[in-house]
């Protein structure tokens, strides 16, 4: 483009079905705006992953929308980013295979917010404590079972965890 340096970046732009090839050197390519190209590539990549993960699912989840922020699964597939924390619950079954692909895991094992420190009413905290402890114990067992490839045991633990999590249907972090 500048006619000075050797072209090392080759782009094909398709506008209104007309394709145009661009051969740019590093500095021209940067000026033309690689951030957009990058965003696009990442979004496409994630979308591809998300597609792959949901191929087996029945029906089109595209219209499924988050009750909090109104993002649809289709929006996520296009942009590669979720709309809010609640989206993770709304699109749970579609995100699980995606996370597995990206991270090789679907179980958080790191640090967690310290519960109970916030000004939660005492009785609520009391009622919630036991299941939380049990949950984390079960999850530890689950992680171990998965690591040692004991899948039957893992499935049993997973169902137990789901049942426990479904019961109070309360968000774990406290505002």
């Amino acid at each position: 483009m500048c006619g000075k340096k050797e072209a090392t970046v080759h782009l094909t732009e398709i506008v209104n079905e007309e394709s145009r090839e661009l051969h740019l050197c590093e500095s021209c390519a940067r000026e033309k705006g690689p951030p957009e190209i990058q965003d696009f590539a990442l979004a496409g990549l994630l979308a591809g992953l998300a597609d792959f993960g949901t191929k087996l699912e029945e029906g089109a989840p595209g219209r499924l929308a988050c009750p909090r922020c109104k993002m649809t699964y289709e929006d996520f597939r296009k942009g590669g980013r979720l709309g809010c924390g609640r989206c993770y619950e709304t699109f749970h079954r579609y995100l699980a295979p995606l996370l597995k692909r990206i991270h090789g895991s679907t179980q958080h094992v790191g640090k967690r917010p310290e519960f109970g420190k916030a000004s939660a009413p005492a009785e609520e905290a009391k009622g919630a404590e036991a299941p939380v402890e049990e949950l984390s114990r079960l999850k530890e067992q689950l992680a171990k079972a998965v690591a040692s490839e004991q899948f039957e045991e893992a499935t049993r633990l997973r169902d137990q965890i789901r049942a426990l999590e479904a019961k109070p249907r309360k968000r774990t972090t406290k505002g």
Binding site: L42, G80, G85, L99, G110, L135, T172
Partner: protein
């Protein structure tokens, strides 16, 4: 403290001290955090983003680690000042690009702590991107600071979190710990001996990512490589750091071996390159920032190997930053055209070396 006070000092991470400082320029850890029940910046309304900023400001005011921090709204900064913050590694290039996505830029901000050790990008891809930047190979210390700040802000901000998937982020590649830890390595001898591709290839296979000086999408100028973890879910913060440390130690050993080999086998050739680089920097009257970074890389190698014993590492580190376009213009106190910058840069180098 104001933005202009920063120019006269260098951040803590450029001090050139710390473990393995001759190869590891700096260590950085960032945590992605979002507020519960508030849409992520790209999807939220201006009111949502304003709420995030207001709550972060409140959190910062009550924090003992962030006492006396500078809070800057990106929309209120000139383009020069935004570029200046990118050059200092306090904000990302995406955070600085004000015009690109004007709609979502309204409430972008950055919090900068004393000595620039801690910074928080507000309303970037996530509501908060907390960062600690330290000099040398110092991930443990960086983590001890960062986890304390995180714990301090947590009760005030109440983060989006699921026990199953950890801290929730706009992009699913960051969920879990929300942690990205990285070290900036100076690897000139692995580049000279053409071993760098082999090393980087091995590193990527073992779960690390290699990037250039200014992060995502930038090339490796000046033989600097930023190595970071890829995965954030299913591994604890300590595991991420252990793994990164272990692999970086091996890269350091490889670079050390390459330095030794070059010194043994072609000392004269190496000294010649280093002194010529020094000579050019000391005598040029016009010099671009790319050439400067490449030559300073050799000079830094000379200092690190004891071949250029008259110079201080901290000075060389400072020159890497101060010869960048926005820094030069801030030093000069006015906008400079590219050719004026080349002249001003050359003058600064002649006077400093």
């Amino acid at each position: 403290m104001t933005l202009d006070d920063l120019i006269r000092e260098t951040g803590e991470w450029l001090r050139g001290k710390g473990p393995k400082e001759e190869i590891v320029m700096s260590s950085r850890i960032r945590l992605a955090r979002n507020l519960q029940e508030v849409p992520f910046p790209h999807w939220g309304s201006p009111r949502d983003r304003a709420e995030v900023l207001a709550r972060v400001e409140e959190g910062v005011k009550g924090s003992k680690f962030l006492k006396g921090s500078l809070i800057l709204k990106i929309s209120e900064l000139s383009e020069l000042d935004r570029q200046f913050l990118v050059e200092r590694h306090l904000i990302s290039r995406e955070h600085a690009s004000h015009a690109a996505k004007a709609a979502a830029s309204d409430e972008k901000a950055v919090v900068v702590s004393d000595r620039e050790i801690i910074s928080i990008m507000v309303n970037e891809e996530d509501h908060l991107r907390l960062q600690v930047l330290q000099s040398g190979f110092n991930l443990q210390e960086a983590w001890s600071v960062l986890s304390q700040i995180d714990a301090e802000l947590e009760p005030v901000l109440s983060y989006a979190f699921l026990p199953e998937w950890g801290y929730l982020t706009a992009c699913p590649t960051n969920v879990g710990t929300g942690m990205r830890a990285s070290c900036m390595l100076h690897l000139p001898c692995l580049v000279m001996t053409k071993q760098i591709n082999r090393v980087l290839h091995a590193i990527t296979k073992l779960g690390l990512t290699a990037r250039g000086l200014y992060g995502e999408g930038t090339e490796a100028t000046g033989n600097f490589f930023q190595l970071s973890n890829q995965v954030s879910l299913g591994v604890s913060e300590e595991e991420i750091l252990d793994n990164l440390e272990r692999l970086i130690k091996q890269v350091i050993e490889q670079e050390e071996a390459a330095r030794k080999a070059l010194l043994n086998q072609s000392r004269e050739g190496l000294e010649d390159r280093i002194w010529r680089a020094h000579g050019t920097l000391k005598s040029a009257h016009l010099i671009t920032s790319n050439e400067t970074v490449e030559l300073l890389s050799l000079v830094r190698l000379g200092v690190d190997m004891g071949l250029l014993s008259t110079l201080e590492r901290a000075l060389v580190n400072r020159l890497f930053i101060q010869t960048q376009p926005a820094h030069l213009q801030k030093l000069e106190g006015r906008p400079l055209s590219p050719s004026e910058r080349d002249a001003r840069r050359a003058k600064l180098l002649r006077e400093s070396l």
